[in-house]
């Protein structure tokens, strides 16, 4: 299966701290994407990292990709209460498939 698997399943941090979550996947990919989902809401695209990229930044988000280990990490710096959400990695497989495979997600709670 292509599905990404996030680790940890849940994370609770104090406002201002950094949050790091990891994603592992199984086969070759075109790209890996991170999404956020607030409770009961839709998925919001955060960042896309291509298979030939190693690191990408967007605001307070930093994503790394290690294709040799088939893993990625998402770092949220200086977390805020509004960052409380579930975070999912999704892999776009290196094939003619036209789909994303999502992991189970990491639930992040930022305490004020």
């Amino acid at each position: 299966s292509q599905q990404g698997e996030e680790d940890p399943q849940a994370l609770s941090i104090q406002e201002g701290e950094n949050a790091t979550m990891n994603c592992s996947y199984k086969t070759s990919i075109n790209n890996l994407q991170w999404y956020r989902q607030n409770s009961g809401r839709g998925l919001v695209h955060l960042i896309l990292i291509r298979s030939n990229e190693r690191e990408k930044h967007s605001g307070r988000l930093r994503v790394t990709l290690d294709t040799s280990k088939k893993s990625s990490s998402l770092l949220i710096t200086a977390s805020r209460a509004a960052d409380t959400a579930s975070y999912f990695c999704a892999t776009d497989p290196f094939s003619n498939d036209y789909k994303l495979s999502f992991g189970a997600g990491t639930t992040v709670t930022v305490r004020a």
């Binding site: 599905q3 075109n30 790209n31 994407q33 999404y35 009961g40 809401r41 839709g42 998925l43 919001v44 695209h45 955060l46 960042i47 896309l48 291509r50 999912f88 999704a90 776009d92 498939d97 036209y98 789909k99 994303l100 495979s101 999502f102 992991g103 189970a104 997600g105």
Partner: protein, 114 residues
């Protein structure tokens, strides 16, 4: 910022009834998708649609499911005879090229089959 719009936001239907979930993707996007998320579970791929035909479908997308793009703007998912286990959040998404850009998801339709 352009949005993917889904209607209705919530639908309750009797088991065995047909439902149509509607989506308006972003106008210049070429790839369209339906995903679903059963409460507390992973987001699951249902079907992708490109150039007015299905590109790929999952095992979930059986003969009870169909998709259409009837008028060049709307993108619909039909479930012919709903089952209790079809209760889920259904998300529509679109993408500019399916590879280099992330997907834009709608807010979802919560389908409850009773």
């Amino acid at each position: 910022e352009p949005e993917v719009t889904q209607t209705p936001s919530h639908q309750v239907t009797q088991m065995g009834q047909e439902v149509i979930l509607r989506c308006v993707p972003i106008s210049n996007h070429l790839y369209f998708y339906w995903y679903r998320q059963i409460l507390g579970q992973k987001v699951e791929f249902l079907v992708s649609f490109y150039n007015n035909e299905i590109s790929e479908k999952s095992e979930i997308f059986d003969d009870q499911f169909s998709v259409e793009r009837p008028d060049g703007s709307n993108f619909t998912l039909k479930i012919r005879s709903t089952k209790l286990e079809d209760s889920a959040m259904y998300f529509c998404a679109s993408s500019e090229d399916g590879v280099n850009y992330g997907y834009t998801f709608g807010s979802g339709t919560r389908l409850t089959v009773v």
